[in-house]
Structure formats: C-alpha cells, structure tokens
C-alpha cells in the first residue's frame, strides 16, 4: 500500500481539475435529488409545526359551549355560569360569542357572489378576543359599526380585494379584511356536506355588529374557554357539561373540546395523508438521482480500468486500487452534500410559496430539517460509494492482464457476441455502428438506460398523477354539466315545500328558462361489512334540466332505488339490486328533524368520481319521508344569460340563500387539485433538470471513452459531424430503451400511487390512473430527444481535437 499521501492527494486534485465539470454536474444531480427529498420529506413537519404555532398564536379554545340552535342567553350569562361550575378555578380566559346563519352577497371579479354564511360575533375591543383570536391577513380589523371580516379561505377562493362593499343578511356592510381564526382556518362546510372552497363564508364581526345584523341585541349563544396549564381538558368538559345540564337545562348546551374542531382535525389529518404521497415522489426523484449518479460515477471509474489493471500489475492491493475511485466518490459526496443543503433551502423556499397558497394559516414555518436531509444524503452518498467501489470490485475479480486488456473501451459483447456476429443489418458500416455499439456493451447500455428510465419514470409518474387528477375533473364535468352546462343551482334557506312561494318565485324569475326543485341532504350509507360512507343525496326529477347517467343498473322515472357513484358502490361492495342502510334526518311531526335509518335498494351507478354524490327519484324520496320538499332549485338560464347574471337576479329573493353554477363542485375539485399540481411541478421540474444533467454527463463520458475511435474517424477523413451524428444515433437508441423502460416503470408507479396511496389520502374522489399524450410526449422528449441531442455539446471538442495526440494516447 503506497504510504505517500501527498502523491495521492496531488493525483486526486489533478483528476478533479481534469474533470471538474463532470464532478460538479454529478454532484449537482445528487444535490437536486437530496434537496427535493429534504423539501418534500419535510412537508408534514412544516405543516404540523405551522398548525401548532398558528393554533397556539391565536389561543385556540380548550372547551367550547354551544347552545342549542335558536337558543341564546344574555351577554355575560355564559361566562358566569362557567365560572360558577367546578371548572371555574381552572379557566384562564373566556369569551362569549354570537353565531348565526346569514347570507353574504359581495362583488367578486367573476361577478356578484351570493353564498350562505355563518356570522361570528366576537369581542374585538381591546385587542380581543382572548380565546380563538382573530388574525387579519390583508386589510384591517373592523373599526366602524358596519365593518366585517370574511375568512381568508373564502376571500382567496373568490379572489376578493381586501376591502369591498357587501350585504350580510340583506344589510349593507363593508368587508375590510381577511380573518384567520382557529375554528375556520379551513372551512369544512359546503353544499350537501361536500366542502367546496368559496361556497360558504365565515363573516367575523364585532359582537355588537353581529348582534345587530342577526337581530339579537345583547345576546350570546356560544362560549369558548382556555384552561390553565395542566388541567384535564376532557374531565373539565364532562364536568362543565354536567353542571350546565343541571344549572341551565333550557339552554341545551353542548360542550366540545379542541379535538372536536373540524378544521383542526382536517389540517393535521391532511398533513399526514399528503405526506404519504409526497414521500413517494421524493423517494422517486432521489432514487432516480442516485441511480443516475451510480451509473455515471461507475462509468468514470470503469473508464480507468486499464489504470486499475496497471496498478494490479504493479502489486497494489484492493485498498490501494480503490483509493482514487474513493477520492472521486468523496469529492462528489462532499460537494453533493454541500450543494444539497443549498438545494434543500431553495426547494423549501419554492414549496413555502406553494404552502402559503394552500394553507391560510397566520404562521407558516418551513425550517430546514437536518434529519430528513441526512437520510437523503446518506442514500446519495451510499450510491456514490457503491458506484466508486463496484468497478474496482469487478476489476480485482479478474487477472491483471484481463483488467489491462479489457478497459472501458473494449467491449466484448458478452453473451450477445456470437449473436452480434451473425446479425445482418441494412446500410453500410457507418449506418450499422450505432446499433452495434449499443449491443456490443450490453451491461453499460443497460445501466445507462436504467438511469434514464429512472428519471423518465419519475416524470411519467408525476405528470401521470396530474393527468389522473385532470381526467377526474373531466369525468366529473362531463357528468355534472352534461347536456346543461350553463345550469345553476339555487340553494334555498332551508327545506321548503315544492310549491312554496320561494320555489315558485325562483322558477318564475326573469332570465330563468327552466327550473326543477330538488332536495339535497347528507346521509350515511352502510352495506353489510362495510364502513359508513357520507353521501350527498339529491333528488333527480325525471323531467328536470339534468339527468345523471346510469352506467349500470337502471334509473327509471318511478324508481325508488339509489343511484350511487361507481366509487361508492365499489367501496360499499354493492351491485344494482342489492340493499344498503341509509341514515339520514327526516322531518318530524313537530317540525324538527329526526335521525332515522332505512334500507334502500341500489338502482344503479353513475360515473361521477365524487364518491358522495347519489341520486333518488322523487318516488324514492317520498318512500323515505322526504317527498314534496325542496332545498335547491336547478335552473337553466335563458340563452345569453350567464350564471353570474342569474345570481344577481336571484340574490336577495325570499328563501334564496345562495346561487352557484353547477360547475361549483368541479371547480372546487380543480382548486384542490391545483394545490397538488403546484407541489408536483417542483419535483417535475427537478426531474427534467436531472434528465438533462444525465444526458450531458453521459455525452461527456461517451466522448471521453470514444476519444481514440473519434480521432481515428477524423484521421481517415470523416468530418466531425459524422462521429457526432453516430453518437447522437447511439444515444437516441439508448434513450429510447430508457424511455420505454421509464414509461413502463412510471406506469407501474402511477398505478401504485393512484390505486393504493391516493384512496388513503382522497377517499372521497375516485381517481383513475391515466396517461395523456402530453405525458408520453414529455417522456419521449426527456428520454430520447434530450439524450439524443446531448452529444451536440461535444461537437466543439471534436472540432478542436488534436488528432495525432489523441491517437498517441494510451489512456
């Protein structure tokens, strides 16, 4: 073993000077993979940390007391009642609120928006409220008596300016800012129980303003509390509930805790669920980068196999032989790790922008996660170490004379040798060269193609995910809009008789060409052995402007069965004709609602990917005790009348709570998918850069390996474009192999993502794996065209080659 460290260091530094561009490019490749792995792998930690800090910043309640619908109490009564309870000494802060339904009408860039809303009146004086605080994101806190805030999610979905005139419950108000409050960081309500961003608004106002707008002066119906540190929250909830039941039974008070906050539950659940998808993408990109780095580094070392053989001939042992490749690996590993930190920070910045759009939280933290980075870096460095060691391991397994004789330039063809000799290809020797070169080195070809395939697979899987989501939107749009694309849905203020003045008024409104009253309720569906699914059950009159499309079974005009989505039928494990148990609220004789269950047969299935959407004929609704009621009116505008103009016409009419185009649901889906799209574009971009880096590095290494061959071609009189063209043809062949393999692998990955992981994250939507022509074109461009064009980068080197010196070089 050579003991002169100085010699080895000088040698290694000269090697680095000679190929600094290649080392830098491979290190960059690893850095991008590691950086993206760190960024995407940190998303859950960022979101959870952002959730934790946002909820803590605004003093989210520990306990909430909500009075029964329609019941309220004098201001101060709830605080006194709580103070007098056994929980009193543990209360650190308390705030009374007034909540009530209303309707918000506001001008948005897309037109007048009329939506159902929830008014939330809180103490804003003195910087309040002290529990479930209100952060203002854009605009300012209300100062005047008619000033309100709308929730940031609604304002973003509707693209509202920070300040605009509006009406709340018909009364003029001014929206002066966007509010962020713990219970409504994300609004989980929507038409028929399906959350649709921008379909329901949370209007936050000073308590006196809310009391005036809700016509409940001096009244409150809600109380939120925080407890001192160390208090047993669940025990306190039970104690407070029991006390209020005894002390004020008429209030119908319900006590809930932090864990019952729906938006909080969804924020944390989504963080976990989305991370599963992001981790797959991150692992894919890192695997692609690591495989590519392995391929490139092993080829660089393989190219020096003759020198390894000479070292063996001089008596160097395996450790001595491995020293130079190890130093190469160390250089790439160190540089890659350093660049990886920078890449991780850059990716975090890019993803932070995406998260800021996705999550309307007052605090967003995206700290660098060293643990995640180290995991990714170890994988990358592992690939580098393996890549440097593998050719040495291969070399020492043969005799020195074999190692010296069979350098990287000598391709024996392996098992393909005899077959290659018998192969008769069209064209002259030059035309045959690219295919023969590819077949002559099957291991190297396979390794290079595998590196390209890995990156192409990443691109295909990522773009294919977007294709699948877009296909889902398309299927929903085709089904939902169908023959009446301009259809609008008028949501009534509550279930009303079909022949009520409000319903008749909508049907008779100017601009309405056709109208059909329908009812939409939320219901739970269960079949034998299945979990309960939430359905948004709507009546579908046979003479209405729109009909669902049965894909199995039948949905006759007088049918009493349910038309389920294909996804719901599959999840419930039922076929047409089989029964399911439906749990829903039906009108009670006393005018209220009563929870009930019923067995209903499945009439058939429809293709809309929204799992919750289900339909009943009026006959079926009547059988369930829901006959003669309408909660919505499906309207078709007259020619030339848009849904937006219809909304203006109908807004403010008696009984009308909201007007929205029929595409609102698919628009919501598109918004949700746009969030994923924004995140996925980051790894797609990095995968494309990786592919270009691989192509560049491969072309550079090929040029080094073929130096003598190209010099010989130039020496016999061929122009530089000939060896460059042959290199491009050979690269195209390898790229084609890689692209084909990548598409196959990418399709398998896509199916895994869509059919195994997405149902865990988005069970409410039936997404199907699909690849668009655009994605296949992208795979071809990345895998074939970019790789094939890469040798053009070496044409300059060919033109400037010192042919005699190159022919004299004996590597």
């Amino acid at each position: 073993m050579v003991g002169r460290a100085g010699l080895w260091l000088r040698w290694s530094l000269r090697d680095l000077r000679r190929r600094w561009l290649l080392v830098g490019a491979i290190a960059l490749l690893l850095a991008l993979g590691t950086g993206l792995f760190t960024g995407l792998g940190s998303m859950r930690d960022w979101r959870v940390a952002s959730n934790d800090r946002s909820f803590a910043l605004l003093d989210v309640h520990d306990l909430r007391v909500a009075l029964e619908e329609g019941v309220d109490a004098p201001a101060g009564a709830l605080v006194r009642a709580a103070a007098a309870s056994p929980v009193g000494p543990d209360i650190s802060a308390a705030e009374e609120r007034l909540l009530g339904p209303t309707q918000l009408a506001v001008d948005a860039p897309a037109g007048r928006v009329v939506v159902p809303a929830r008014m939330v009146g809180v103490r804003m004086a003195g910087g309040g409220p002290a529990v479930d605080g209100v952060a203002v994101d854009g605009g300012r806190r209300p100062a005047g008596r008619a000033e309100v805030l709308v929730d940031a999610g609604f304002a973003r979905a509707r693209d509202l300016p920070p300040s605009s005139p509006a009406t709340a419950g018909g009364a003029p108000v001014r929206v002066v800012g966007r509010a962020q409050s713990p219970e409504w960081f994300i609004v989980t309500e929507g038409p028929g129980g399906v959350p649709v961003p921008g379909s329901v608004a949370i209007v936050t106002a000073p308590l006196p303003t809310a009391q005036r707008l809700l016509d409940r002066p001096g009244r409150v119906n809600d109380l939120v509390l925080t407890l001192r540190p160390g208090a047993d929250r669940d025990a306190a909830a039970a104690a407070l509930g029991a006390h209020l039941d005894r002390a004020a039974p008429g209030l119908g008070a319900r006590v809930s805790t932090t864990d019952d906050i729906e938006s909080r539950r969804l924020l944390y659940r989504d963080a976990d669920g989305d991370q599963q998808l992001y981790s797959i993408f991150a692992a894919l990109v890192l695997a692609g980068a690591a495989l590519a780095a392995f391929n490139l580094i092993s080829r660089v070392v393989e190219a020096e196999r003759r020198e390894i053989g000479v070292g063996m001939a001089l008596g160097l042992g395996p450790a001595g032989l491995a020293l130079r490749p190890a130093l190469l690996g160390l250089q790439i590993g160190v540089l890659g790790s350093a660049l990886g930190v920078a890449a991780g920070v850059a990716v975090a910045r890019a993803l932070r922008g995406v998260l800021a759009d996705q999550l309307p939280l007052p605090v967003l933290v995206t700290p660098f996660q060293p643990g995640v980075f180290v995991r990714g870096a170890l994988i990358g460095i592992g690939a580098v170490a393996l890549a440097a060691a593998w050719p040495v391991w291969r070399a020492v397994r043969v005799t020195p004379v074999e190692a010296i004789r069979s350098g990287a330039r000598s391709a024996r063809g392996g098992a393909l040798g005899p077959w290659l000799a018998r192969l008769r290809l069209p064209g002259g020797s030059l035309a045959q060269m690219p295919l023969r070169s590819v077949l002559r080195s099957p291991r190297r070809t396979a390794l290079t193609a595998a590196g390209i395939a890995a990156v192409v697979a990443v691109v295909v899987a990522l773009l294919g995910t977007l294709d699948a989501f877009r296909d889902t939107i398309g299927r929903s749009e085709r089904e939902t809009l169908g023959t009446a694309p301009e259809r609008a849905v008028v949501t009534l203020s509550g279930p009303l008789p079909i022949d009520s003045p409000a319903v008749r008024g909508v049907a008779a409104a100017p601009g309405v060409a056709a109208a059909a009253p329908t009812l939409r309720i939320a219901a739970g569906a269960r079949a034998a052995g299945s979990e309960e699914l939430t359905l948004s059950l709507a009546t579908a009159p046979p003479d209405g402007p729109w009909e669902p499309t049965p894909t199995s079974g039948a949905f006759g005009a007088r049918d009493r069965g349910l038309l389920l989505s294909e996804v719901a039928a599959a999840d419930l494990g039922v076929a047409p004709g089989e029964p399911i148990e439906l749990a829903y609220a039906r009108p009670a004789p006393d005018g209220g609602l009563r929870l009930t269950t019923a067995r209903v047969a499945v009439a058939g299935t429809h293709p809309d990917p929204f799992r919750a959407l289900a339909y009943l004929r009026p006959a079926g609704a009547a059988a369930l005790g829901l006959g003669g009621l309408a909660g919505e009116v499906q309207v078709v505008p007259e020619p030339g009348v848009t849904a937006a103009r219809l909304a203006e016409t109908l807004a403010g009419r008696e009984g009308v709570a909201a007007v929205a185009p029929a595409s609102a649901t698919t628009d919501a889906l598109r918004d949700a998918i746009d969030d994923y799209t924004a995140v996925l574009l980051v790894p797609v971009g990095i995968a494309v850069v990786l592919a270009l880096l691989i192509a560049f590095n491969t072309a550079t290494i090929n040029a080094d390996e073929r130096l003598r061959e190209h010099a010989t071609m130039l020496a016999v009189g061929l122009r530089p474009r000939v060896p460059a063209g042959l290199a491009m043809a050979e690269s195209a062949l390898v790229g084609l192999l890689g692209a084909l393999g990548g598409v196959g692998l990418g399709w398998a990955l896509l199916r895994f993502i869509i059919e195994v992981r997405v149902p865990d994250v988005l069970p409410e939507i039936g997404v199907r794996a699909t690849l668009s022509p655009g994605t296949l074109l992208a795979a071809g461009l990345v895998g074939v065209v970019a790789v094939a064009l890469a040798p053009l980068l070496t044409v300059r080197r060919l033109r400037r080659m010192d042919v005699p010196a190159a022919l004299r070089v004996v590597e």
């Binding site: 008596g315 040798g417 005899p418």
Partner: protein
C-alpha cells in the same frame, strides 16, 4: 549502485542465492475458452532462469511468448503446471499473495508503456518505488530517471513525452522497484532503432549491476543476438532453449 532491498526468500546482491533457479516453470499450460472453441496459448512449458541471466523469448505473433511472460509476472494464472518464482510457489497462491509477489519480486515493462497519465514522469517512477516498499522513494525515482537520461523531463506528463521517452520512464519505474525479476514485453516494439538500442542497453545493464534476471519477449531475431540464452516458442511450445551460438553479441553490433 542500485539499492535493492531483498524481499524475504529472495537473494539480493551479496546475499545467499535461493536454492535452484530464480524462475522455474514445470509443465505450465494455459487454455482459454472462446465460445465453443478452446484456445491453447501455452502447452506444457518447462523453463528455468537463473539470477543475472538475460533471456530473450523469441517467436512469431501468437506463439505464446506474451502469455508465458504474463504467467511469470503473475498477471495471469496457468490452467495446469507449477510456477516457482524467486523462491515462491505461485501455483495455488491467492490474490493477496500474488499482489505481494508482484510488488516485491517482479517488475513488468509493457509494450504500450502503461504509464499513469495523471502523474508526471517522476511521480510514475516514484509510484513504482513506493509500491515496492522502497525507502526514499522520491530520491530513488530521481536517480532512476537520471539513469535513463530523463532527469530534465521529470515534471512532464506522459502525453508530453515521446514514445521512446515514455518507455524509458516505464523502465525507470521498473528499475526503481529493485525487484529481482524484470520482465519486458516487446519493449522496443513501438520505438525506432536508436531508441530501441538505448532501451536494450538499460535492460542488459541490469543483469550485471543488480544481478536481476531479465526476460525480454520479442519477435525481432536481431535483439535475440544479445541474449545469454534464447528461448524460441511456436504454437505455445518451447521449440528451442539454449545459449546463443558463439555467445551473446554486443548491443552495438545490432542492426534492424
């Protein structure tokens, strides 16, 4: 005076010579399989070379002379037969032992030089001394380069040297190791006459100054005239093995 540190079991100048010849081959054969074919590169070769002998292995292309050299240099392993070189039986030696043998017992000069392109002339020679475990490798390398007449080219890289200069660097590297066996595969094959003569002088000198056993493989009969002994090969067999009739000729008398 060349400083040669004698490896264990091998005689150096002034030391007790090993029992028997320095190089001994008994029935050594080498076969290769190429597809369904069997190629016999060596067919039962017996050979013995003493320390200080200058032996030329002569034969046409494909006669097995390079394969013979590779066997002796432990660059390849025989299919059958026994090899004892510098007191070591290499017949069933493992990779580690073969590597140690190559470090301390033989030095190889290749037809195509096989210098490390990333090292200067001096560093290439120093590498040879270092691998062999010689003390003061750098100084030793300078002396060897001076001996082959390339002291002024010490800082030059191989691609900056002519073919003859590269071969002289390769010889200097081999000499710097100080090993008792020096194997040269067509050392003058790439060189002009004048340079080839210089190379032969350096190799021949080694037998006298260091008692090194030198084996030179060539197809050039003229070079065989300077040998103490000529081993002639054909089709993998030794067809003649004996001293030059009339004794070895002076190198100055060679013409090709």
């Amino acid at each position: 005076m060349v400083d040669v540190a004698a490896p264990a079991g091998v005689a150096g100048p002034g030391g007790r010579p090993p029992d028997g010849p320095l190089i001994r081959l008994e029935g050594v054969a080498r076969e290769y399989r190429v597809g369904d074919s069997r190629v016999v590169a060596l067919a039962g070769v017996d050979l013995a070379v003493e320390a200080g002998e200058f032996v030329v292995v002569l034969g046409p292309s494909g006669s097995g002379k390079t394969t013979l050299l590779n066997m002796i240099g432990a660059l390849d392993t025989p299919t059958v037969g026994r090899l004892v070189i510098a007191g070591r039986d290499l017949t069933s030696a493992g990779r580690g032992e073969l590597a140690r043998f190559r470090r301390h017992a033989v030095s190889f000069i290749f037809q195509v030089f096989n210098l490390f392109p990333g090292l200067t002339a001096l560093e290439n020679v120093e590498f040879g001394a270092d691998v062999a475990g010689r003390q003061g490798a750098r100084e030793r390398a300078r002396r060897m380069l001076d001996r082959v007449g390339l002291a002024e080219r010490a800082a030059h890289f191989p691609h900056e040297l002519s073919g003859g200069e590269q071969q002289r660097v390769a010889i200097a590297r081999a000499l710097a190791s100080g090993n008792p066996v020096l194997l040269a595969d067509e050392p003058t094959g790439e060189l002009d006459f004048r340079t080839g003569v210089q190379i032969l002088e350096l190799l021949h000198d080694q037998t006298h100054t260091a008692g090194t056993a030198v084996l030179v493989v060539t197809h050039n009969r003229e070079i065989a005239r300077v040998a103490d002994r000529v081993v002639e090969m054909s089709s993998g067999r030794v067809v003649r093995d004996g001293p030059n009739p009339g004794g070895p000729a002076p190198i100055s008398a060679l013409q090709w």
